[in-house]
Protein backbone atom coordinates (compact mmCIF):
# COMPACT_ATOMS: atom_id res chain seq x y z
CA UNK A 1 0.00 0.00 0.00
CA UNK A 2 2.77 2.40 0.95
CA UNK A 3 4.49 1.75 -2.37
CA UNK A 4 1.33 2.72 -4.28
CA UNK A 5 1.32 5.98 -2.30
CA UNK A 6 4.96 6.64 -3.14
CA UNK A 7 4.19 5.91 -6.81
CA UNK A 8 1.20 8.26 -6.89
CA UNK A 9 3.00 11.09 -5.08
CA UNK A 10 6.02 10.63 -7.32
CA UNK A 11 3.81 10.83 -10.43
CA UNK A 12 2.17 13.94 -9.02
CA UNK A 13 5.55 15.61 -8.52
CA UNK A 14 6.56 14.56 -12.01
CA UNK A 15 3.52 16.33 -13.46
CA UNK A 16 4.37 19.43 -11.47
CA UNK A 17 7.87 19.44 -12.90
CA UNK A 18 6.51 18.98 -16.42
CA UNK A 19 4.12 21.87 -15.84
CA UNK A 20 6.96 24.13 -14.69
CA UNK A 21 9.08 23.07 -17.67
CA UNK A 22 6.17 23.98 -19.89
CA UNK A 23 5.96 27.37 -18.19
CA UNK A 24 9.62 28.07 -18.88
CA UNK A 25 9.84 26.72 -22.42
CA UNK A 26 6.61 27.81 -24.12
CA UNK A 27 6.73 30.97 -26.27
CA UNK A 28 3.66 32.95 -25.31
CA UNK A 29 1.15 33.45 -22.50
CA UNK A 30 -1.65 31.27 -23.79
CA UNK A 31 0.46 28.15 -24.16
CA UNK A 32 1.98 28.77 -20.74
CA UNK A 33 -1.38 29.02 -19.03
CA UNK A 34 -2.41 25.88 -20.81
CA UNK A 35 0.62 23.99 -19.53
CA UNK A 36 0.42 25.22 -15.97
CA UNK A 37 -3.28 24.65 -15.42
CA UNK A 38 -3.44 21.20 -16.88
CA UNK A 39 -0.23 19.77 -15.47
CA UNK A 40 -0.62 21.19 -11.98
CA UNK A 41 -4.22 20.16 -11.56
CA UNK A 42 -3.42 16.64 -12.58
CA UNK A 43 -0.34 16.64 -10.37
CA UNK A 44 -2.38 17.83 -7.43
CA UNK A 45 -5.02 15.18 -8.09
CA UNK A 46 -2.39 12.44 -8.01
CA UNK A 47 -0.84 13.91 -4.89
CA UNK A 48 -4.25 14.02 -3.23
CA UNK A 49 -4.90 10.39 -4.20
CA UNK A 50 -1.52 9.41 -2.84
CA UNK A 51 -2.27 11.07 0.51
CA UNK A 52 -5.85 9.86 0.85
CA UNK A 53 -5.05 6.49 2.47
CA UNK A 54 -2.98 8.07 5.23
CA UNK A 55 -5.73 10.39 6.46
CA UNK A 56 -6.98 9.58 9.98
CA UNK A 57 -10.70 10.15 9.43
CA UNK A 58 -13.29 10.42 6.66
CA UNK A 59 -14.02 14.19 7.19
CA UNK A 60 -10.32 14.86 6.83
CA UNK A 61 -10.31 12.90 3.56
CA UNK A 62 -13.33 14.85 2.37
CA UNK A 63 -11.50 18.06 3.16
CA UNK A 64 -8.58 16.92 0.97
CA UNK A 65 -10.95 16.28 -1.91
CA UNK A 66 -12.61 19.65 -1.31
CA UNK A 67 -9.17 21.30 -1.56
CA UNK A 68 -8.56 19.66 -4.91
CA UNK A 69 -11.97 20.67 -6.26
CA UNK A 70 -11.52 24.28 -5.14
CA UNK A 71 -8.07 24.46 -6.79
CA UNK A 72 -9.52 23.03 -9.97
CA UNK A 73 -12.29 25.63 -10.13
CA UNK A 74 -9.97 28.48 -9.14
CA UNK A 75 -7.24 27.69 -11.66
CA UNK A 76 -9.79 27.24 -14.43
CA UNK A 77 -11.37 30.64 -13.79
CA UNK A 78 -7.99 32.26 -13.32
CA UNK A 79 -6.58 30.95 -16.57
CA UNK A 80 -9.75 32.06 -18.40
CA UNK A 81 -9.44 35.56 -16.93
CA UNK A 82 -5.74 35.85 -17.77
CA UNK A 83 -6.34 34.67 -21.33
CA UNK A 84 -9.32 37.02 -21.62
CA UNK A 85 -7.23 39.91 -20.31
CA UNK A 86 -4.27 39.20 -22.60
CA UNK A 87 -6.57 38.84 -25.64
CA UNK A 88 -8.29 42.10 -24.83
CA UNK A 89 -4.97 43.84 -24.36
CA UNK A 90 -3.24 42.70 -27.59
CA UNK A 91 -5.55 40.92 -30.09
CA UNK A 92 -2.70 40.05 -32.51
CA UNK A 93 -1.03 37.88 -29.90
CA UNK A 94 -3.23 34.92 -30.85
CA UNK A 95 -1.22 32.66 -33.28
CA UNK A 96 -4.35 30.76 -34.13
CA UNK A 97 -6.32 33.93 -34.86
CA UNK A 98 -3.63 35.02 -37.36
CA UNK A 99 -4.12 31.87 -39.52
CA UNK A 100 -7.94 31.97 -39.37
CA UNK A 101 -7.81 35.65 -40.35
CA UNK A 102 -5.57 34.82 -43.35
CA UNK A 103 -7.88 31.92 -44.36
CA UNK A 104 -10.88 34.25 -44.39
CA UNK A 105 -9.00 36.72 -46.58
CA UNK A 106 -8.11 34.30 -49.40
Amino acid sequence: MIYLQYLLVGAGCLFFIVGTLGLLRFPDTFTRIHAITKADNLGLGLLMLGLLPSTQSVPQALKLVLIWLLVLAASATASYLIAHYVKAKSPDALPHAAETASEEQD
Partner: protein
Amino acid sequence: MQFAFDSMLGLGLLACAAGVFWSRDLFRSVVMFIAFGLLLALTWVRLEAPDLALAEAAIGAGLTGVLLLDAIGHLRQHKEHSPRNHWLLPLLCCIALALLLILSLNARPEASISLPELVAESLPESGVEHPITAVLLNFRSYDTLLEIAVLLVAAVVAMALNDGLAATARTSAEQSSRDPVLAGFTSRLAPVILLIAVYVLWAGSYMPGGAFQGGAILAAGLVLLKLADFHIERYAESLLRLGLALGFLVFLAVATSVMIGGRPFLTYPEAFAGQFILFIEAVLTFSIGLILFSLFNQSPGQEVPHDN
Protein backbone atom coordinates in the same frame (compact mmCIF):
# COMPACT_ATOMS: atom_id res chain seq x y z
CA MET B 1 15.72 14.91 5.33
CA GLN B 2 14.07 17.53 7.57
CA PHE B 3 17.11 19.77 7.42
CA ALA B 4 17.23 19.69 3.63
CA PHE B 5 13.63 20.86 3.35
CA ASP B 6 14.17 23.58 5.99
CA SER B 7 17.30 24.94 4.38
CA MET B 8 15.60 24.96 0.94
CA LEU B 9 12.62 26.75 2.44
CA GLY B 10 14.86 29.28 4.20
CA LEU B 11 16.88 29.99 1.08
CA GLY B 12 13.64 30.23 -0.89
CA LEU B 13 12.45 32.87 1.54
CA LEU B 14 15.65 34.83 1.10
CA ALA B 15 15.43 34.49 -2.71
CA CYS B 16 11.86 35.80 -2.72
CA ALA B 17 12.83 38.68 -0.44
CA ALA B 18 15.78 39.50 -2.72
CA GLY B 19 13.36 39.39 -5.64
CA VAL B 20 11.05 41.83 -3.87
CA PHE B 21 13.82 44.29 -3.08
CA TRP B 22 16.00 44.28 -6.12
CA SER B 23 13.71 43.70 -9.10
CA ARG B 24 13.39 46.73 -11.32
CA ASP B 25 9.68 46.55 -11.98
CA LEU B 26 7.31 47.12 -9.06
CA PHE B 27 4.71 44.66 -10.33
CA ARG B 28 7.35 41.93 -10.26
CA SER B 29 8.21 42.88 -6.65
CA VAL B 30 4.60 42.58 -5.58
CA VAL B 31 4.25 39.16 -7.17
CA MET B 32 7.45 38.05 -5.46
CA PHE B 33 6.05 39.47 -2.22
CA ILE B 34 2.96 37.24 -2.52
CA ALA B 35 5.21 34.26 -3.19
CA PHE B 36 7.22 35.24 -0.11
CA GLY B 37 3.97 35.28 1.89
CA LEU B 38 3.10 31.74 0.83
CA LEU B 39 6.58 30.45 1.62
CA LEU B 40 6.35 32.18 4.99
CA ALA B 41 3.06 30.33 5.62
CA LEU B 42 4.96 27.10 4.99
CA THR B 43 7.66 28.23 7.41
CA TRP B 44 5.10 28.78 10.15
CA VAL B 45 3.92 25.21 9.61
CA ARG B 46 7.50 24.04 10.03
CA LEU B 47 7.68 26.04 13.27
CA GLU B 48 4.64 24.17 14.55
CA ALA B 49 2.49 27.32 14.42
CA PRO B 50 -0.50 26.33 12.21
CA ASP B 51 -2.52 29.34 13.35
CA LEU B 52 0.15 31.62 12.05
CA ALA B 53 0.33 29.71 8.76
CA LEU B 54 -3.41 30.26 8.28
CA ALA B 55 -3.17 33.92 9.23
CA GLU B 56 -0.08 34.55 7.11
CA ALA B 57 -1.62 32.93 4.06
CA ALA B 58 -4.98 34.69 4.46
CA ILE B 59 -3.88 38.11 5.72
CA GLY B 60 -0.16 38.44 5.02
CA ALA B 61 0.03 37.06 1.50
CA GLY B 62 -3.62 37.19 0.49
CA LEU B 63 -5.09 40.45 1.63
CA THR B 64 -1.93 42.53 1.67
CA GLY B 65 -1.16 41.15 -1.78
CA VAL B 66 -4.57 42.24 -3.05
CA LEU B 67 -4.13 45.70 -1.56
CA LEU B 68 -0.72 46.03 -3.18
CA LEU B 69 -1.90 44.78 -6.56
CA ASP B 70 -4.80 47.21 -6.39
CA ALA B 71 -2.35 50.03 -5.59
CA ILE B 72 0.03 49.00 -8.39
CA GLY B 73 -2.93 48.96 -10.77
CA HIS B 74 -3.43 52.67 -10.27
CA LEU B 75 0.21 53.70 -10.68
CA ARG B 76 0.89 54.93 -14.19
CA GLN B 77 4.50 53.77 -14.57
CA HIS B 78 5.96 50.92 -12.61
CA LYS B 79 9.60 51.81 -13.22
CA GLU B 80 11.16 53.83 -10.44
CA HIS B 81 14.30 55.82 -10.87
CA SER B 82 17.57 54.80 -9.26
CA PRO B 83 17.68 54.54 -5.47
CA ARG B 84 19.90 56.83 -3.43
CA ASN B 85 23.57 56.59 -4.24
CA HIS B 86 25.17 56.37 -0.80
CA TRP B 87 24.89 52.63 -0.18
CA LEU B 88 28.10 51.59 1.54
CA LEU B 89 27.28 52.90 5.03
CA PRO B 90 23.75 51.44 5.22
CA LEU B 91 25.04 48.15 3.85
CA LEU B 92 27.69 47.91 6.56
CA CYS B 93 25.34 48.68 9.44
CA CYS B 94 22.70 46.27 8.10
CA ILE B 95 25.26 43.48 7.92
CA ALA B 96 26.45 44.39 11.41
CA LEU B 97 22.85 44.29 12.64
CA ALA B 98 22.31 40.84 11.09
CA LEU B 99 25.52 39.44 12.62
CA LEU B 100 24.73 40.93 16.03
CA LEU B 101 21.25 39.46 15.95
CA ILE B 102 22.45 36.01 14.95
CA LEU B 103 25.22 36.09 17.56
CA SER B 104 22.77 37.03 20.29
CA LEU B 105 20.22 34.41 19.28
CA ASN B 106 21.97 31.54 20.98
CA ALA B 107 22.53 33.35 24.26
CA ARG B 108 21.38 31.25 27.18
CA PRO B 109 20.66 33.34 30.29
CA GLU B 110 19.95 31.03 33.20
CA ALA B 111 17.17 32.92 35.02
CA SER B 112 14.10 32.67 32.80
CA ILE B 113 10.41 31.92 33.30
CA SER B 114 8.75 29.21 31.23
CA LEU B 115 5.37 30.54 30.13
CA PRO B 116 4.20 27.49 28.17
CA GLU B 117 3.83 25.47 31.41
CA LEU B 118 1.86 28.32 32.98
CA VAL B 119 -0.41 28.37 29.93
CA ALA B 120 -0.84 24.59 30.07
CA GLU B 121 -1.71 24.75 33.80
CA SER B 122 -4.42 27.39 33.52
CA LEU B 123 -5.73 26.16 30.15
CA PRO B 124 -8.66 24.26 31.74
CA GLU B 125 -9.99 27.41 33.42
CA SER B 126 -9.71 29.40 30.19
CA GLY B 127 -12.77 27.75 28.64
CA VAL B 128 -11.08 26.66 25.38
CA GLU B 129 -8.76 23.75 24.59
CA HIS B 130 -6.62 25.45 21.94
CA PRO B 131 -3.82 27.27 23.84
CA ILE B 132 -3.39 30.08 21.30
CA THR B 133 -7.05 31.02 21.35
CA ALA B 134 -6.90 30.85 25.15
CA VAL B 135 -3.93 33.25 25.21
CA LEU B 136 -5.50 35.55 22.63
CA LEU B 137 -8.97 35.80 24.07
CA ASN B 138 -8.51 35.11 27.77
CA PHE B 139 -5.05 35.46 29.20
CA ARG B 140 -3.97 38.45 27.05
CA SER B 141 -7.45 39.54 25.92
CA TYR B 142 -6.57 43.19 26.61
CA ASP B 143 -3.99 43.03 23.81
CA THR B 144 -6.63 41.71 21.43
CA LEU B 145 -9.01 44.47 22.49
CA LEU B 146 -6.41 47.12 21.65
CA GLU B 147 -5.56 45.32 18.42
CA ILE B 148 -9.18 45.46 17.29
CA ALA B 149 -9.10 49.15 18.17
CA VAL B 150 -6.05 49.51 15.90
CA LEU B 151 -7.96 47.88 13.05
CA LEU B 152 -10.97 50.08 13.69
CA VAL B 153 -8.81 53.24 13.72
CA ALA B 154 -7.31 52.24 10.37
CA ALA B 155 -10.83 51.85 8.96
CA VAL B 156 -11.92 55.19 10.46
CA VAL B 157 -8.95 57.02 8.96
CA ALA B 158 -9.65 55.36 5.58
CA MET B 159 -13.25 56.60 5.82
CA ALA B 160 -12.08 60.07 6.85
CA LEU B 161 -9.80 60.29 3.81
CA ASN B 162 -12.54 59.07 1.54
CA ASP B 163 -15.22 61.41 2.78
CA GLY B 164 -12.96 64.09 1.47
CA LEU B 165 -13.41 62.69 -2.04
CA ALA B 166 -16.45 63.73 -4.02
CA ALA B 167 -18.99 60.98 -3.40
CA THR B 168 -19.57 60.43 -7.11
CA ALA B 169 -16.04 59.40 -7.88
CA ARG B 170 -16.28 56.32 -5.72
CA THR B 171 -19.28 54.50 -7.16
CA SER B 172 -17.86 52.47 -10.02
CA ALA B 173 -19.58 52.20 -13.39
CA GLU B 174 -23.02 50.55 -13.58
CA GLN B 175 -22.92 46.75 -13.46
CA SER B 176 -23.41 45.97 -17.17
CA SER B 177 -19.79 44.91 -17.61
CA ARG B 178 -20.00 41.86 -15.31
CA ASP B 179 -17.84 38.98 -16.64
CA PRO B 180 -20.01 35.83 -17.06
CA VAL B 181 -17.39 33.24 -16.07
CA LEU B 182 -16.15 35.20 -13.07
CA ALA B 183 -19.72 35.94 -12.00
CA GLY B 184 -20.69 32.28 -12.27
CA PHE B 185 -17.60 31.14 -10.37
CA THR B 186 -17.99 33.73 -7.65
CA SER B 187 -21.69 33.15 -7.13
CA ARG B 188 -20.99 29.45 -6.58
CA LEU B 189 -17.86 29.99 -4.52
CA ALA B 190 -19.27 32.63 -2.14
CA PRO B 191 -21.39 30.25 -0.02
CA VAL B 192 -18.42 27.85 0.23
CA ILE B 193 -16.18 30.67 1.45
CA LEU B 194 -18.75 31.68 4.03
CA LEU B 195 -19.00 28.07 5.17
CA ILE B 196 -15.22 27.75 5.47
CA ALA B 197 -15.00 31.02 7.40
CA VAL B 198 -17.58 29.88 9.93
CA TYR B 199 -15.90 26.48 10.15
CA VAL B 200 -12.51 28.05 10.85
CA LEU B 201 -14.08 30.28 13.48
CA TRP B 202 -15.83 27.32 15.12
CA ALA B 203 -12.73 25.12 15.02
CA GLY B 204 -10.74 27.87 16.76
CA SER B 205 -11.71 26.74 20.22
CA TYR B 206 -10.10 23.30 19.95
CA MET B 207 -7.71 23.39 16.98
CA PRO B 208 -5.88 26.08 14.99
CA GLY B 209 -8.28 28.73 13.73
CA GLY B 210 -10.21 31.54 15.31
CA ALA B 211 -11.56 35.00 14.83
CA PHE B 212 -8.73 36.54 12.84
CA GLN B 213 -8.32 33.70 10.32
CA GLY B 214 -12.12 33.43 9.92
CA GLY B 215 -12.39 37.17 9.48
CA ALA B 216 -9.64 37.18 6.86
CA ILE B 217 -11.35 34.43 4.85
CA LEU B 218 -14.64 36.34 5.07
CA ALA B 219 -12.86 39.46 3.84
CA ALA B 220 -11.36 37.48 0.94
CA GLY B 221 -14.86 36.40 -0.03
CA LEU B 222 -16.17 39.95 0.11
CA VAL B 223 -13.23 41.20 -1.97
CA LEU B 224 -13.93 38.49 -4.55
CA LEU B 225 -17.56 39.61 -4.70
CA LYS B 226 -16.50 43.23 -5.13
CA LEU B 227 -14.05 42.28 -7.90
CA ALA B 228 -16.75 40.34 -9.66
CA ASP B 229 -18.84 43.52 -9.71
CA PHE B 230 -21.46 42.34 -7.25
CA HIS B 231 -22.15 45.83 -5.83
CA ILE B 232 -22.40 44.92 -2.17
CA GLU B 233 -21.18 48.27 -0.82
CA ARG B 234 -24.38 49.93 -1.97
CA TYR B 235 -26.06 48.96 1.32
CA ALA B 236 -26.68 51.86 3.66
CA GLU B 237 -23.39 53.43 4.61
CA SER B 238 -24.37 53.65 8.29
CA LEU B 239 -25.00 49.88 8.35
CA LEU B 240 -21.45 49.39 7.11
CA ARG B 241 -20.23 51.79 9.82
CA LEU B 242 -22.12 49.85 12.51
CA GLY B 243 -20.78 46.56 11.19
CA LEU B 244 -17.21 47.83 11.43
CA ALA B 245 -17.53 48.84 15.05
CA LEU B 246 -19.82 45.97 16.15
CA GLY B 247 -17.03 43.58 17.05
CA PHE B 248 -15.21 46.14 19.16
CA LEU B 249 -18.48 47.29 20.72
CA VAL B 250 -19.46 43.78 21.81
CA PHE B 251 -15.98 42.97 23.09
CA LEU B 252 -15.88 46.18 25.15
CA ALA B 253 -19.44 45.65 26.38
CA VAL B 254 -18.63 42.14 27.56
CA ALA B 255 -15.36 43.30 29.12
CA THR B 256 -17.09 46.00 31.16
CA SER B 257 -20.34 44.23 31.98
CA VAL B 258 -18.22 41.56 33.66
CA MET B 259 -16.85 44.26 35.96
CA ILE B 260 -20.34 44.99 37.32
CA GLY B 261 -20.28 41.56 38.90
CA GLY B 262 -17.28 42.68 40.92
CA ARG B 263 -14.74 40.78 38.83
CA PRO B 264 -11.68 42.56 37.47
CA PHE B 265 -11.74 43.94 33.91
CA LEU B 266 -12.03 41.30 31.14
CA THR B 267 -12.53 38.33 33.52
CA TYR B 268 -15.08 35.88 32.06
CA PRO B 269 -17.23 34.03 34.60
CA GLU B 270 -15.64 30.63 35.16
CA ALA B 271 -18.49 28.44 33.97
CA PHE B 272 -19.38 30.28 30.76
CA ALA B 273 -15.84 31.28 29.67
CA GLY B 274 -16.06 29.08 26.56
CA GLN B 275 -19.43 30.51 25.50
CA PHE B 276 -18.32 34.06 26.13
CA ILE B 277 -15.21 33.55 24.04
CA LEU B 278 -17.12 31.95 21.19
CA PHE B 279 -19.71 34.74 21.18
CA ILE B 280 -17.02 37.41 21.12
CA GLU B 281 -15.11 35.55 18.42
CA ALA B 282 -18.18 35.25 16.21
CA VAL B 283 -18.88 38.98 16.31
CA LEU B 284 -15.17 39.71 15.91
CA THR B 285 -14.97 37.56 12.79
CA PHE B 286 -17.88 39.44 11.26
CA SER B 287 -16.34 42.80 12.13
CA ILE B 288 -12.79 41.93 11.08
CA GLY B 289 -14.11 40.65 7.76
CA LEU B 290 -15.98 43.92 7.20
CA ILE B 291 -13.06 46.10 8.35
CA LEU B 292 -10.51 44.34 6.11
CA PHE B 293 -12.95 44.53 3.21
CA SER B 294 -13.63 48.24 3.81
CA LEU B 295 -9.86 48.89 3.91
CA PHE B 296 -9.76 47.41 0.39
CA ASN B 297 -12.98 49.07 -0.71
CA GLN B 298 -12.26 52.55 0.67
CA SER B 299 -8.98 52.99 -1.13
CA PRO B 300 -9.11 55.96 -3.48
CA GLY B 301 -10.79 55.33 -6.82
CA GLN B 302 -9.87 55.78 -10.44
CA GLU B 303 -9.22 59.51 -10.72
CA VAL B 304 -6.27 60.20 -12.94
CA PRO B 305 -3.56 61.85 -10.81
CA HIS B 306 -2.93 65.40 -12.02
CA ASP B 307 0.64 66.60 -11.79
CA ASN B 308 0.69 69.82 -9.85
